[in-house]
C-alpha cells in the first residue's frame, strides 16, 4: 500500500510543475491564440535564473523562496520583451507563422543560455527547510514533493480568483471566448494580450524555478517539457486553466503507475492519452468549439497553369540540375541530393497544409516511417535497394492512413496537435524498441545497391524519384482531386453541398502527402546509409514547417525555394558556433519582414521587372 501511495504522491508532485507551465501556455493560447513553442524556453530560463539567484544569495529559507519568485518575475519581464518586439506584430497572421516565430525564439534562447551559463548541467541546492523526507506508511516521501503538491492547487486557486474577481481577469476570460467581441467593446487588446503573455511566461518561469531542487538544470529542459505541456493544454482544452490542472494530474498520475507495469511507456503515454481524449472530445475536456483558429488569412489567389515561357525556364533549370554532376564536385552532388530530399519533403508538407488546409506539426513521422521501413527491409528482410525503396512510401502510406483517420476528424490547432501526438508516438516507439529499430543507435549500413553506389548514379536515382514525386504532387494540385481538397479548405459547407465527402477527401489528401514524405525518407536513408530516431522528431517536423514558410505558403513553388534556402543556410551556419542564434534570427526576419516568403519576394521582383520593361 505504502509503495502505491508513494507513487501517487510522486505523480501529484510532477503534476504540479507540469500544471504551472501548462496553465501559462493555456492562458496565452486562450487570449492571443498563439501556440507558444517558446514556453519551454521560459521554463528553462526560470530554472537557470533561480539557480543563479539561490546560489548567489545563499539566504536560507526566505532567500530561496525570494529567488524562486524573483526568477518568475524576471521571466515575466523577458516574456514582455518577446511579446512587444515579436508577437505583437504577428497576431493577425495564421497560426503557422506564430509557431515558427516562437520556434525562432527557442533557438535564440538556447544559444543565449549556452553563452551565459555554459553547456554543463547545473545541480541546484536542495530547498532549505524542505530537504528531508518524511515517512508515510513506511515509504520516504521528500518534503519538497509535498510542498509542490500544495503549490499546484494554490496557484490554481489564485488564478481562479484573479479571473473571477478582477476586471482584468473577466476580460481575459471574455477574450478567450471571443476576442473580436472584446475588441469591439473598446478594450485595449494590445495591453490585454501583453499582460496575458507576461502572466503566462511568469507561470512557466515559476514552474522552472521550482524544479531546481528536483532535477539538474540543463539546456535540454526546454524541448523536453514543451511536448508534454502541449499535450496537457490540449487534453484540458485550449484556454482552460482548470482543464490544464485536471489534465496535468491525469497524465502525471497515470504515468506514475504505468511505468510500474511497462517502464518504456512514459515517452508515448501522454500522447496516447491525448489522442484518445481528442477522439472522444475534439476540443479537450474543458474546451469549447470555436477557439481553435489563429487569425484569418487573406484569400489565396487562384492557381494558374504554367505558361509556355515558364515551362521552358523550368525545363532549362531541371536540365541544368541534371547535368550538374559533370561540373560540380562530389561534395556538391551529395548536397544536391540533400536539397532534393528536403524539397520533396517540403512539397509534400505544403500539399497537406497549403492545398489541404491541414497544418501538421508532425509530418516528419511519415518521412521517418519511409526511411525506417526501407532500412529495416534491407537489414532484417535482406531486400534489395529498389524493393526496399518501394516499401518506404507504402509503409508511410499505411501509417498516414491509420493516423490520418483520427486527424481529419479535427481541424485547426487541434488537428496540428494530433499530428504532433502521432509523430511523438511513432518517435517513442522507434526510440524505445531497441531490438527492432536499434533505438537511439539507429540503423546503420543501409547502402545503395552496387550499381548505384557511386555518388553520381545515386544522384540520378534521387533526381528521378524526387522530381517525379514533386511533379506528381504539382500535377495533383491542378487536378480535380487537388481542387476539391482546396475547396474543402475554403468552405467545408459548400463542398458538402456539392456532394463531396469532405472528411474522406481530406483523409486521402493526408495519406497522399504522407506517402510522398515516405518516398523522401526512402531516398534519404540510402543517401546517408543510416537512419536515427531524429528523422521522426518534432525538430524535423519543424524543419519542414520552416521550409514551407520560408518559401511562402501561398505559392506552389514556395516549398521548393524554402527547401533550397534551408539546406544551404543549414550547411553554412551549422559550421559556426552559435548557429542556432543566427538561424533563429533568420527565421524571425522572414516571419516579421517577409511573411509571404521567398516566393512572394520573387513574385514582387518579377512584377517590378515587368513594370520596368513595359
Amino acid at each position: 500500500m505504502g509503495f502505491y501511495l508513494a507513487q501517487l504522491l510522486t505523480g501529484l508532485a510532477n503534476a504540479s510543475s507540469l500544471f504551472l507551465i501548462a496553465s501559462g501556455l493555456s492562458i496565452i493560447f486562450g487570449v492571443t491564440r498563439i501556440v507558444n513553442f517558446a514556453h519551454g524556453s521560459f521554463y528553462m530560463l526560470g530554472a537557470y535564473l533561480a539557480y543563479t539567484l539561490v546560489t548567489t544569495l545563499q539566504g536560507g529559507i526566505p532567500g530561496y523562496w525570494f529567488s524562486v519568485l524573483a526568477a518568475a518575475v524576471l521571466v515575466g519581464g523577458i516574456g514582455l520583451v518577446v511579446e512587444l518586439t515579436i508577437l505583437r506584430r504577428i497576431y493577425r497572421a495564421p497560426e503557422l507563422f506564430q509557431l515558427v516565430a516562437t520556434f525562432g525564439v527557442v533557438l535564440i534562447v538556447q544559444d543565449a543560455t549556452l553563452a551565459i551559463w555554459g553547456a554543463e548541467d547545473l545541480l541546484g541546492p536542495r530547498a532549505p527547510g524542505l530537504d528531508r523526507a518524511v515517512r508515510l506508511m513506511g515509504e520516504p516521501i521528500p518534503e519538497y514533493d509535498l510542498a509542490l503538491i500544495a503549490i499546484g492547487p494554490a496557484v490554481l486557486a489564485a488564478i481562479w480568483l484573479v479571473f473571477h474577481r478582477t476586471r482584468w481577469g473577466v476580460l481575459v476570460r471574455a477574450a478567450t471566448q471571443d476576442r473580436e467581441m472584446v475588441g469591439a467593446l473598446g478594450v485595449n487588446q494590445a495591453w490585454l494580450f501583453s499582460a496575458a503573455f507576461v502572466l503566462g511566461s511568469a507561470l512557466a518561469g515559476l514552474g522552472g524555478a521550482l524544479q531546481i531542487p528536483r532535477e539538474a538544470v540543463s539546456l535540454q529542459m526546454d524541448l523536453s517539457i514543451i511536448g508534454e505541456a502541449f499535450v496537457v493544454v490540449v487534453i484540458g482544452g485550449m484556454g482552460s486553466v482548470t482543464g490544464a490542472f485536471v489534465a496535468a494530474v491525469l497524465i502525471s498520475v497515470l504515468n506514475a503507475f504505468a511505468i510500474l507495469i511497462f517502464p518504456q511507456v512514459s515517452i508515448v503515454l501522454p500522447f496516447v492519452v491525448m489522442a484518445a481524449v481528442l477522439i472522444v472530445r475534439p476540443y479537450g475536456l474543458f474546451g469549447r468549439p470555436g477557439s481553435e483558429h489563429g487569425g484569418a488569412e487573406e484569400p489565396e489567389q487562384p492557381l494558374r497553369l504554367l505558361d509556355q515561357r515558364s515551362t521552358m525556364v523550368l525545363l532549362a533549370l531541371v536540365a541544368m540540375l541534371a547535368f550538374s554532376p559533370a561540373v560540380v564536385s562530389d561534395f556538391t552532388t551529395i548536397l544536391l541530393v540533400d536539397v532534393m530530399v528536403a524539397t520533396l519533403f517540403a512539397v509534400s508538407l505544403h500539399f497537406m497544409m497549403g492545398i489541404g488546409g491541414m497544418v501538421s506539426f508532425g509530418h516528419a513521422a511519415y518521412f521517418g516511417v519511409g526511411a525506417y521501413a526501407a532500412a529495416m527491409a534491407v537489414k532484417m528482410l535482406g531486400w534489395g535497394m529498389l524493393p526496399a525503396m518501394a516499401l518506404g512510401p507504402v509503409a508511410a502510406a499505411l501509417a498516414a492512413l491509420f493516423f490520418g483517420w483520427f486527424c481529419v476528424r479535427l481541424s485547426g490547432v487541434y488537428l496540428a496537435m494530433l499530428t504532433m501526438a502521432a509523430a511523438q508516438i511513432l518517435w517513442g516507439v522507434t526510440f524505445q524498441w531497441q531490438e527492432v529499430t536499434g533505438g537511439d543507435d539507429g540503423i546503420l549500413g543501409v547502402w545503395p545497391a552496387e550499381w548505384a553506389s557511386s555518388d553520381r548514379v545515386y544522384f540520378y536515382l534521387a533526381l528521378v524519384l524526387c522530381l517525379g514525386g514533386i511533379w506528381l504532387l504539382r500535377r495533383v494540385a491542378h487536378s480535380p482531386f487537388g481542387y476539391t481538397l482546396r475547396g474543402v479548405r475554403d468552405s467545408r459547407i459548400r463542398a458538402e453541398a456539392i456532394g463531396i465527402d469532405t472528411r474522406f477527401h481530406q483523409w486521402m489528401g493526408f495519406t497522399l502527402a504522407g506517402t510522398l514524405a515516405g518516398l523522401a525518407g526512402a531516398v534519404f536513408v540510402f543517401s546517408k546509409g543510416s537512419v536515427f530516431p531524429d528523422a521522426l522528431s518534432i525538430g524535423h517536423s519543424i524543419d519542414g514547417l520552416i521550409m514551407v514558410l520560408l518559401g511562402g505558403i501561398h505559392a506552389l513553388a514556395g516549398p521548393v525555394y524554402g527547401a533550397m534556402a534551408m539546406v544551404l543556410i543549414e550547411d553554412w551556419v551549422s559550421r559556426l558556433d552559435y548557429w542556432r542564434f543566427i538561424f533563429g534570427g533568420i527565421i524571425l526576419t522572414v516571419v516579421l519582414l517577409a511573411p509571404d516568403g521567398i516566393a512572394g519576394g520573387v513574385r514582387r521582383l518579377i512584377q517590378l521587372v515587368r513594370r520596368d520593361a513595359a
Binding site: P299, E300, P480, Y483, T484, R486
Partner: protein
C-alpha cells in the same frame, strides 16, 4: 401527378422548445414556393431538416417518393437537390468559373481524378451556367473579389450545375440592395418557368415574395398557420395578426403595385 417534395409531420424540438411542430406540405412540379414567417418561426430549422443538416425529431421528407430523412447532405445533393446559403459559401481561392466547374466535376464523379487539369474540365457547361445567371464576363475573376450580389448569383449557378429537381434557397436576397433583389428573384422565376426545377425559398422581403411566389406557406412558432396564393395570404386575418406591424408591410407592397 406525384409531388416533387412531400413533407409529412416534420417536427423538431430543441430541449423543451418545439422549434418546428408537425409541418406538412407538398411541392408540385415547377412550383415556386415561399416559406415565410416572423423571426424565430422555424423557417431555417425547417430548411436545415430538408437539406439534411439537422435530424428531425419526427416526420418524413420525400423527394419524388424517396425518403430523405437520415440521408447525409452530400447524398441529398446527388439525389437532385441544389441549395444556396443565407450567408454565401463559395470557394474563395478559385475563379468564378472554377467554382462552377467544381460542382460539375463532383456531379460527373471525377473528384478523385488525379491527373486531369481541373481548370479545363467542363468548360462549355460551366460557361453556359454562368450565362444563365449573366456572369459570363466575370468568369475569370477570383471569387474573393466579387460583390455580394454577384456571389449570390454565382451560388445560383453552382446550385443548378447538376440539373436539380429541387432548389432550396435560404434567404436568397438577404444582404442585397433592393434592385439586386428584384433582379435575382426575377432570374430565379425565369429559370423555374423554363425548366424542370421546383424551388422552395425562405424570405423576409414581402415585395419579393408576393411578386414571384406561386404559393406561400406561413410559419409561426413552428406551426404552419396559413397556405395559399399571395392574395389569399394577404387577406388572411391570422397572418395579419401574426405580423402585427406586418399590415403596413402589405400596404406598402400594394402601394408599389
Amino acid at each position: 401527378m406525384t409531388p416533387v417534395l412531400e413533407v409529412r409531420g416534420l417536427s423538431k424540438a430543441f430541449g423543451g422548445v418545439q422549434a418546428v411542430d408537425d409541418v406538412s406540405f407538398e411541392l408540385r412540379q415547377s412550383e415556386f414556393l415561399a416559406l415565410i414567417g416572423p423571426n424565430g418561426a422555424g423557417k431555417t430549422t425547417c430548411f436545415n431538416m430538408l437539406n439534411g443538416y439537422l435530424p428531425p425529431s419526427a416526420g418524413s421528407v420525400k423527394l419524388n417518393g424517396r425518403e430523405l430523412i437520415g440521408t447525409p447532405p452530400r447524398r441529398i445533393w446527388r439525389l437532385g437537390v441544389g441549395r444556396t446559403f443565407q450567408i454565401t459559401a463559395t470557394f474563395l481561392s478559385m475563379t468564378v468559373r472554377e467554382n462552377v466547374q467544381m460542382a460539375l466535376i463532383s456531379h460527373h464523379r471525377r473528384v478523385y481524378d488525379l491527373f486531369s487539369r481541373a481548370t479545363r474540365m467542363y468548360l462549355d457547361e460551366a460557361m453556359a451556367l454562368l450565362d444563365l445567371v449573366s456572369m459570363r464576363e466575370q468568369a475569370d475573376r477570383p471569387c474573393s473579389e466579387l460583390a455580394y450580389g454577384d456571389l449570390k448569383r454565382l451560388e445560383l449557378a453552382i446550385a443548378l450545375a447538376h440539373e436539380p429537381a429541387l432548389l432550396l434557397m435560404d434567404e436568397p436576397t438577404a444582404g442585397m440592395a433592393p434592385s439586386e433583389r428584384v433582379a435575382l428573384m426575377a432570374l430565379t422565376a425565369d429559370i423555374v418557368a423554363r425548366g424542370h426545377v421546383s424551388v422552395v425559398f425562405t424570405e423576409h422581403d414581402m415585395d419579393v415574395v408576393f411578386a414571384h411566389a406561386h404559393r406561400i406557406l406561413v410559419l409561426n412558432r413552428g406551426r404552419l398557420i396559413a397556405e395559399g396564393t399571395g392574395a389569399e395570404i394577404r387577406a388572411n386575418p391570422l397572418v395579419q395578426e401574426v405580423y402585427l406591424g406586418g399590415g403596413r408591410l402589405f400596404e406598402k407592397e400594394r402601394g408599389n403595385a
